[in-house]
Symmetry: C2
Subunit: 145 residues, 2 copies
Amino acid sequence: MNVVKQTEKQSASNKKEKTYSIGELSKVFDVTPRSIRFYEEQGLLSPTRSGQTRIYSKKDKVRLKLILRGKRLGFSLAETRTLFNLYDSHQNSKIQLQAMLEMTKEKRALLIQQLEDINVLMIELDEVESRCQDELEQINKGKTA
Amino acid sequence: MNVVKQTEKQSASNKKEKTYSIGELSKVFDVTPRSIRFYEEQGLLSPTRSGQTRIYSKKDKVRLKLILRGKRLGFSLAETRTLFNLYDSHQNSKIQLQAMLEMTKEKRALLIQQLEDINVLMIELDEVESRCQDELEQINKGKTA
DNA sequence: TAACATCTTTACGTGAACGTAAAGGTAAGC
DNA sequence: GCTTACCTTTACGTTCACGTAAAGATGTTA
């Protein structure tokens, strides 16, 4: 009868920090649980467990967001993992920092290229669109087709 | 001895229009001939032939450029093909035009999302980079590590 | 004429990112 | 106590975008 479920109970019984089930995250980000488990298998997430069940913290949630954004920008999971590892390693040796800088530089170049691509495509879409609309008007007015 | 090859000969013997071999295009765009043939197999290119050999026109070259830009932006070959088909169909029925408009709209939304993603990532890269450089300076000065 | 560079087709192989059963555990609610 | 919902693991299957021989045709160069 009561729509309120897990979420409420947790925040009532436990004041520590909000956590998420795999199903919740899957809905929030519109990905399948299978994908989320796969990301873990690939070393991109490491949720804690309650028995067998995975418990995701806010940090995990942020990570997932980063993974998905990376995907949208064409990063492979392996690349994202590498970035995570570099970022996580707080021993931060000189070599690691330099690797990080090189990676950011590389990625930045790619992003700039993408920006260019997007600009060009946007303009082309503009043209195509207005031409389409013109033709549609023609059809609707004069019965050209 | 002479570095000048096919290209020269063609433009000398034939004033029509410049054409390209698969090898030329492959160098120009830094893709393998295998990929170019694959795009043809998928219905994205249809070069003419001279005997068995594929001959690519300027139009084909433009198409290839579009394919690759699409790829960089995360378009599948199937999507690009659909766009090509819509664009090519000059019978331009009302339905096709509307399909085209919807597709451009969809794509535009994706591009806007990507722009957002890129902006966010750029800022993050800035932060990471300056932090890295700070730490590198620390290391180089005080021998912190 | 022989060697090479480049082209061709056919066809099996591959890596990434999941999809999809199958079979079972656990906790909530009726 | 039974159903329902959600979780788990294991493991094979699939799609996309090519890679990679293998084997042969064609054309230019030494």
